[in-house]
Amino acid sequence: MLYFSKLRVFSVLIFTLIISYFTISNFTKVDDEFFSKNIKLGLDLQGGSYLLLEIDNNPVIVQRLQSKVLELKKFFKDKNIKIRNFSIKDQSIFFDVNIIKKEEVLSLLDDDKSEINTYFQQFKSHEFDIENEDNSFKLTYSDYGLVLLKNSSLDQAIETVRRRVDEVGTNEPNILKRGNDRILVELPGLDDPGRIKSLLGKTANLTFQFVATNQEQSFGTELLQYESGDREAIVSKRIIISGDNLVDAKPTMNNQTNQTVVSFSLDRVGARKFGKATSSGVGKSLAIILDGKIISSPTVQEPIVGGNGQISGDFTFQSATDLALLLRSGALPAPLNIIEERTVGPDLGKDSINAGIMSLIIGFILVVAFMFYKYRFFGLIANLALISNLFLLVGILTLFEATLTLPGIAGIILTVGMAVDANVLIFERIKEELKNENNSIIAFDSGYTKSRTTILDANITTLIAAVILFFMGSGPIKGFSITLGIGILTTLFSVYFIARLITAYYVIKNKHKEKLI
């Protein structure tokens, strides 16, 4: 165990130096992307906001079922099958057929090549599960149908969220999928997430609909509240244009009224539809509806044919800016709920870094002093191993751009405390061996050999705990598991390559000395 080839000495040295370089690169500036890596600080250290959003898919499901009903009606009409009593309840479609046609309907729905109930080869499942009793049918989304629906609405939502966050202009936001109905948004440096939250909390479904001339509710009209909450109006359900038709929106001043308004431009289809509707609807009131609430309902004075228009309302400049932003970034497929929020102010982050570094330095000095007191010269070797261990650990974290969190710093300090264990095990073993062995080289060699399995066992147990934490933990805790886990690997390296190398060198030189350790 004490023999090292020249090549090995050389590679250990080079490896240590290269990795240590990255530790130092945290404190220097180099004009090269690869060589000027910095450790990434977690939100708890640099300050910022963490938001977990969950999509409420229920409205999407109902919406999809409604369009499925239309599809089914057309499909069966083409096949000359009469279907009665369509209804949607509990996220399922119900309908009845003539009992004679039952088998035919069943086979149309249940066939692997069904045109109306898609069969997913990869899942071995249909989009809808079918239940049949006598002449009644019930269609419910299958597990896989639901997964596909959720995934597509998540994909849409994440795009919209990204656009909205980008428009606000926070630096380096991190937007990630979590499962199939959640989005994680990390906003470094943001200590007041209020505005982002209000932007993400809106679906931003914009529609233009006429206010019904006949002020009585009937089929084809709906009763809607005004945004201000003090009145309501009955509007026609027919949508003239929606937010999808918008190509741009920005806040402007209306020179005549001196009010802040949102001006918008429509795409070609939207402009044509809008022109046609306003030409025939001069004198009518046009309701501008956002997320089911009427913002305003101006009277159409003249046909608007250019594809440009303005939305007036009780806007401040800020709220007009936000509305324009929402319209530009498009509507969310479904409402988002914020189910978890964690915000750390920048000065607390700074305090945490300082406290973390302070305790690292003090912990390090205490351990180093104790080791020197216990083992003198060999304590120095262990301490040298400890220092290179720290450099390796921070270097690897930097190289892989791992995120350092406050618990992560605690993990580094803990590594300092536990890393000496391996060297202690070896030194204690060598002491025992020296009692019965006069040749110090043999005693040192067998000290290393006999302690090896114990050291491996002891470190693997901690590594197991770190790996489980990595997969089960979240955010800051994950940072702890990373430093703890990598710390074990660098500990083994520094003990078996660096400390052993120095020990071997020293022992071979001083083999005739009386009391070595």
Binding site: N337, I339, A355, I362, I413, G417, T453, T462, L469, S474
Partner: protein, 297 residues
């Protein structure tokens, strides 16, 4: 070095441990744990007031007037810092936190919200579940590992020692109503790793000595092994405790609970490696034949 007869006290310390475990379980069942917002849901606000005249009572009163459910206010580190926790969480309302801040400034003057955590009921339930799964999984993984590496008698001893450490550490948290949050789960997992580590070192030696001494009974043998590894046990515990104490004292308020749990865990872990793991080997009548049989297979 002088031999210390640890084995003389196996019985008395086992009784003590038994009492501690039962007491801990009683507390865990009847008093329960003080779950933080991570696991219970709700809102946590760490705030700094302008002047030290703002006291706990004043802050509690102004929060109580806001209708936020159960409110708890604690001093946090120094005179001007406080942590406020309450049941209500309404992260969907973007003005929720802002309004609290305005109302608070009206009654106690300028405040700075240094940290806000808002955890919904669904997330907190999931976090709790994944915390419990993580701890269970790590215990199972340790069991599996030590089962592969050692004979079953040893596994049983090590696992009993682990349960001992985890239960008593949680018991202490229950007795003093210390908060259980995500970082405590991390601490418990690390304790599991550390306690295992400590036990494995002694067990390795026990197994080695079983091969070395053909005619020493396990009762004696455990004591020899404990003594042979004692200086290592002490040195490692001391360096680990030094590092942890440094976190506890200088690492800031956020890491207090975490480092306290770890300190308790290291102390109990060291104790249980000697007084739980080894007596189990004695009472399971481990002998030279136990490992010979294993090696034949």
């Amino acid at each position: 070095m002088k031999t210390i007869y640890f084995n003389k006290f196996y019985k008395s310390f086992n009784i003590l441990s038994g009492i501690l475990i039962i007491a801990s379980l009683v507390f865990l069942v009847f008093k329960g744990l003080n779950f933080g917002v991570d696991f219970k849901g709700g809102t946590l606000i760490e705030l700094r007031t302008d002047k030290s005249s703002a006291n706990i009572t004043k802050i509690r009163d102004s929060f109580n007037q806001m209708n936020l459910g159960d409110v708890s206010v604690k001093n946090f580190g120094n005179e001007t810092d406080f942590v406020v926790k309450f049941e209500k969480q309404n992260s969907n309302d973007p003005k929720f936190i802002e309004e609290i801040k305005t109302k608070l400034s009206n009654s106690i003057g300028t405040v700075d919200f240094r940290r806000v955590e808002n955890v919904g009921p669904k997330v907190s339930a999931e976090l709790l579940r994944s915390g419990v799964i993580a701890i269970a999984l790590s215990l199972a993984a340790m069991l599996l590992y030590i089962w592969i590496r050692f004979e079953w008698q040893f596994s049983l001893g090590a696992i009993l020692a682990l349960f001992h450490d985890v239960i008593i550490t949680l018991g202490v948290f229950s007795v003093f109503s210390l908060e259980i949050n995500l970082s405590i789960v991390a601490a418990v997992l690390t304790i599991v790793g550390y306690s295992m580590n400590d036990t494995v070192v002694i067990f390795d030696r026990v197994r080695e000595n079983l091969r070395k001494y053909a005619d020493v009974k396990i009762f004696e043998l455990t004591n020899i092994s404990i003594n042979e590894t004692l200086s290592r046990t002490i040195i490692t515990s001391v360096t680990t405790l030094l590092a942890l104490l440094s976190i506890f004292i200088f690492g800031g308020e956020i890491l207090k609970g975490f480092s306290l749990a770890m300190i308790l865990g290291v102390i109990f872990g060291t104790y249980s490696s000697i007084y739980i793991a080894n007596p189990v080997l004695v009472s399971l009548k481990v002998s030279q034949r136990t490992i010979v049989k294993e090696e034949k297979e």
